[in-house]
Structure formats: structure tokens, C-alpha cells
């Protein structure tokens, strides 16, 4: 046994566990109804794989091996706890290869889909939905989730426990809603995935969360084909994420879009996203955002960006999903498409009523438009004010750099 083989086996175990975690947990929850047991058994199957695969070799069906170990573990625990015989019988009936649901039967619902809809149930607090999705579906350790939410691990453990207790006590069903209820509930699921993605994408976030969000929306797209907003969200994530290597410099500072090296964008991801986008709807909120992102992704340079098209998509988005942030981005887009004066006018509209007070990006946008209008002194002062309102260090430094450029 060489060290190399051991490492390959460990890598294979980690990859197989990552791919089959949601399936194992989702199936064990359906059969046992015990969320914590399901998570523990999935974890145990990975631990055993890490111990045994380096010595015994990677099994032919890694996912099936993990499922069998997790199922056996659940059986042991339940037997010791002497719970109902029915659950044990159901566990025994799970074939070792019962990792994917049998094909061909329309009513068979993938357990992972049930798990996604249950974790994202609107009767749970939004933060709890995101945390539960990360913990239960993605298998992210509680400590990592706690760090991203800026709370202690014990606080996060309590939050997760409270969510699981509510699912049991209020009897939140373990099922995928059907009929009109599905159309009502799907946006809530996509909202959780979107938060998950931004938790990974934002400054100070956990980059791994963005990958998890993409994996989940990909899974959702595969399990619920023909839902245009799912495809749109997948396209949007792929497009945003395609810039991950270009949007930070070597010091970790944020590189604004106009200074990014477009050769470092992930062009394979962009090509995939454009293909996915052709399946997306035309007017859903994610479709509109994805089309905006696609305009950026396909522009040869910042200057050659199709700003009038982006401004039009933002007009549609502002009508469809009016929000202060959309209004701000719309003002910026119009500023590039139709001149800084047009942008400043829309920005003033967006800020009316104090909707964007204390929001540094609004000040930064005003600074940028003011600079392009030919008032560097006022623009520099605005960039410094935006920096003073910004808590994330890389963004703060980027704003101060802009101020310094204008003053110099």
C-alpha cells in the first residue's frame, strides 16, 4: 500500500460521500423519520470508508457501499433503541443498490427532493432553512455553518435542533408539494438556494457554499425538469461563479467588473450557462437576472458591454420584483447605457424615501456616476464616504483606491 493509493482511496471516499450524502440522508429520514440519526449514519459511512478503502480498495459501487453501511448503522442504532419493528422492516427492505429510486414509475419521488422541500419549508425561519439545507443536504459541518452565520457553534447547534424539533412537532410533511402548491413553494426553495449562493459569493463568505448551491440547483434541475426558473437560477449561478478567479486579486481585494481580466473567467461555465439559459423562461426574476449576467459574460470588454440591453432587462426586473437594490442596479445600468445624468436621476428616484440609506453601494454608485460626469473632487469625497460605511475590508480598500485615483 503506497501513500499515493491511500490518498486516492481517501479522495474517492470523500467524493463518493459528497455525491451520495443527500441521497443517504434523505432516504434514511424517510424511513426512520429521525433527522439526527440519518445525519450521524451518513457521517459514519464516510468514516468507515476512510478507514477501509485505503486497505481494501475502492468498491465497485462506492455510493451503494456507503448507503449499505449507513443503513446497517441505522439498523443497529434503532435495534438498540428497540423502536417499532416497522421501521426496521423498511430498512431491511432497502436493497444495497437502492441509492437511486426505481425508474419508470411516475409517482416515485426522489427522496432528495422531499428533503429539499422540507428543509426549505416556509414554516421554518429563513436562516434556519439555509442552515438546515447546508447541514442536512450538503453535510457541511455545524462549525463551518456557524462561522458563516457569525454565531458560535453551540448557537448554531441549538438553531438546527430547534428547526428539526419544529419539523417533528408541527408535523411538517416530508413530501414534495403537488399541483398549485408546487408553484407556491418553489420560489421559496430557490430563495434558500440563492441565499446559500450569496453566502458563498459575498466577501467574507464561505466559498464552498457557492459550489454547494450550484450542486443543489443542478440536482433540482435534474429532478424537476421543465421548471424554467430552476434552469434560470442554475444559469445565473454559473455566470456569477464564472468570475470567481477574476474578481479577487492576489491580495484578496475585490476587483471591479471593469478591471477584471476576462481571460480568467470560466468560459466553459459561461458556455454551459448560455445553453441552460435557452431552457429558462423569459420573465421570471432569475431569468431576468441571468440574462443580465449573460450580457456581462459575453461582452468582449467592459466598454463593449451591451448596456442598453442590460438597462432594458433591469427595467423588466424592476417591474417584476421591485426592490431598492434592483432600483439601484437599474440606475447604474442606465448610467452606462444613456449617460451619467440619466443614471443619477434614476438613482435619486431609487433613494427617495430613504430606502437605500446606509447602503454603501448606493453611495459608491453615486460616486462613480459623479466621476464620469466630470466632478472628481466630489466623486472622491463620495467614494470615501462609501468606504466609511463598508464593513468588508476588501470592498473598503477598493473604494479608498478609487478615491485616491481621483484625488491623485
Amino acid at each position: 500500500m503506497t501513500e499515493h493509493t491511500g490518498r486516492s482511496a481517501a479522495d474517492a471516499a470523500a467524493a463518493a460521500a459528497r455525491d451520495s450524502h443527500a441521497q443517504i440522508v434523505a432516504t434514511l429520514i424517510r424511513v426512520t423519520g429521525d433527522w439526527t440519526l440519518a445525519e450521524d449514519c451518513a457521517q459514519e459511512s464516510l468514516v468507515q470508508a476512510l478507514q477501509r478503502w485505503p486497505a481494501d480498495g475502492v468498491p465497485a459501487n462506492p455510493a451503494g457501499w456507503l448507503m449499505t453501511v449507513a443503513r446497517n448503522r441505522a439498523t443497529d442504532v434503532l435495534r438498540r433503541a428497540t423502536v417499532e419493528r416497522r421501521k426496521l422492516r423498511e430498512l431491511a427492505a432497502l436493497a444495497p443498490t437502492d441509492v437511486a429510486p426505481p425508474a419508470g414509475k411516475e409517482e416515485v419521488v426522489d427522496d432528495r427532493l422531499r428533503l429539499i422541500f422540507t428543509c426549505c419549508h416556509p414554516a421554518l425561519a429563513l436562516d434556519a432553512r439555509v442552515a438546515l439545507t447546508l447541514r442536512t443536504i450538503c453535510g457541511i459541518p455545524t462549525a463551518d455553518i456557524a462561522r458563516a452565520f457569525l454565531v458560535t457553534e453551540s448557537t448554531m447547534t441549538r438553531r438546527l435542533t430547534r428547526a428539526k424539533t419544529k419539523i417533528a412537532d408541527a408535523r411538517i410533511p416530508y413530501k414534495v408539494p403537488s399541483g398549485p402548491a408546487l408553484a407556491e413553494r418553489l420560489p421559496g426553495v430557490l430563495a434558500v438556494l440563492y441565499l446559500l449562493f450569496t453566502r458563498g459569493y459575498d466577501a467574507g463568505g464561505e466559498p464552498a457554499f457557492a459550489d454547494e448551491a450550484i450542486r443543489l440547483v443542478r440536482l433540482l434541475d435534474q429532478l424537476m425538469p421543465g421548471q424554467p426558473e430552476i434552469a434560470a437560477q442554475l444559469a445565473l449561478f454559473l455566470l456569477q461563479h464564472s468570475r470567481r478567479d477574476a474578481r479577487r486579486d492576489s491580495g484578496g481585494d475585490l476587483v471591479p467588473l471593469d478591471r477584471q481580466d476576462r481571460a480568467r473567467w470560466d468560459h466553459a461555465a459561461i458556455a454551459e450557462a448560455l445553453g441552460v439559459l435557452s431552457r429558462a423562461g423569459a420573465d421570471g426574476p432569475y431569468a431576468l437576472q441571468a440574462r443580465i449576467a449573460a450580457c456581462h459574460a459575453t461582452a468582449p470588454s467592459f466598454e463593449a458591454t451591451d448596456w442598453p440591453a442590460i438597462a432594458t432587462w433591469y427595467d423588466a426586473l424592476a417591474r417584476r420584483n421591485p426592490s431598492p437594490v434592483v432600483a439601484l442596479n437599474r440606475a447604474v445600468a442606465h448610467g452606462y447605457a444613456h449617460g451619467p445624468a440619466a443614471g443619477l436621476a434614476l438613482l435619486a428616484e431609487a433613494r427617495a424615501g430613504g430606502a437605500l440609506d446606509g447602503y454603501p453601494l448606493a453611495v459608491a454608485a453615486e460616486a462613480d456616476l459623479t466621476a464620469r460626469q466630470g466632478d472628481p473632487e466630489r466623486a472622491a469625497a463620495l467614494f470615501r464616504r462609501a468606504a466609511a460605511q463598508t464593513h468588508a475590508e476588501p470592498e473598503r480598500r477598493a473604494l479608498l483606491d478609487r478615491a485616491a485615483d481621483l484625488s491623485g
Binding site: A123, D169, A170, K175, A181
Partner: protein
Amino acid sequence: MKYMMFVCTDTEPDTDKSAEPDIEVWVAENDASGRRLDGHQLASVSAATTVRVRDGELLVSDGPFAETKEVIVGYDLLECADLDEAIEVARTHPMARGGRIELRPFAVFD
């Protein structure tokens, strides 16, 4: 699964102008389906009385008159398969629009 459905007023009722569902129809439908076991409108909070015992002493007082304008004005006891079914029952109650509905599951003892 039993859910106690508290029917409450809300400071921000629905502004939708379309007609609210009829309470008589709601009661008849849910009685017929077996999802509504019991329920009643409550008299005004001005008729409420609070009872406490502290150190063996009976304390009876008028009220409570909470600061909030959101008060329980009625209840319905539901029997539903799960929370989604209870939500579907609650959404069609006229007070889901005129006020708000709180769903509280009965505690389950193993």
C-alpha cells in the same frame, strides 16, 4: 394530528378588495370533511378575566388588555394529516385575510 387554530385580528389586514370567503361555507366544508372538530367565536376581550394563584392566594383581574391590537377572537380545533393540510384549511378562513391565523400543533408525548 390535532392543530389548535387561533383566529386573531391583525393591525395590517389584507387590502385586496375582492370578496372574502364566507365563514358559514368554511365551517360547513371543514365540518363535512372531518378536518374541523370544534370551534367558536369568542366574546370581546372586554369580557376577559385573568385568574392567577400566587402563594395560595387567588388573584382575579379584569383583562388582560394587551398593548397590542392583535387579539384572539376565535378558535377552531383541526384534525389534519400534516402542517401543509392545516395551512390549506387556514388559508381559506376569512380571517386569514381580515386578520391572521396561528396554527399550534398539540404536543405529542411518546
